[in-house]
Subunit: 131 residues, 2 copies
Amino acid sequence: MSQAAVAGAEFEARYTIGEVAEQTGLSAHTLRWYERIGLLDHPARSHHGQRRFSDADLGWLAFLGNLRATGMPVAAMLRYTELVRTGDETRAERRQLLIEHREEVLARIRDLQTNLLVLDYKIDLYGQDCQ
Amino acid sequence: MSQAAVAGAEFEARYTIGEVAEQTGLSAHTLRWYERIGLLDHPARSHHGQRRFSDADLGWLAFLGNLRATGMPVAAMLRYTELVRTGDETRAERRQLLIEHREEVLARIRDLQTNLLVLDYKIDLYGQDCQ
DNA sequence: TACTGACCTTGAGTGCACTCTAAGCAAGCG
DNA sequence: CGCTTGCTTAGAGTGCACTCAAGGTCAGTA
């Protein structure tokens, strides 16, 4: 996840915040905010002080995107991020966190499907006759 | 949806706000708020001025619950409610609204499932070896 | 040289959906 | 009688996840 962890990282860091915003669908504002709250390592900077994101950063953002898309709160993503930063000894805990999150997502899907049945029924009623 | 639309409704209106909160899982605060913003008709009142909800109110709240559980924003629920209040001539529009919402929910479910695959993959990686 | 556009910072503002506060009234209980 | 519980109101506060504002730097183009 960290561009600093990759040898020669400064040669890979090439995307501007605008490009990353484009690719990830997050706004530049949000990318800076993610960095500020600790979801994202401080990226490399150009000699003018502008951020230059690496492929590793993009990969990490894509993974965060998966977590967000499945409804994980930012606070939980932050916790996960900090576990990653801590090191390999947290692997079991990270795995556990993901497993629990998966269970929640599965429950959410089941819940949506159940509620959808009622909607279908209602739509059916409208299609036929009154109320 | 309206207890006023049912003949003899005042004889059915029997649940206190606490009981309705209990049954619907919404807080009494939220029930009053729903009423204030127009999601709920003004319920009957006891001779002390306390709300007395009817079975019709409970049914309507259950339906609202379905909409909320499937992620419909309050503003859209409000629009639907106003269509119901307007009368039978809005039935086609209401049906259309529900159909569109159903499509969105189906898309959400597909999206969740897609993102879940990545989670599964990641969990699998943690289960095996490094990163 | 003037302008445009992308980037920088800190800190404040937004929208949603509640959620609570404060001050007060009424019923029921020991 | 005092206490608890549950209700009433209008309006303020909360938490989340952004989102924007203001004021600035810098590179490239006409």
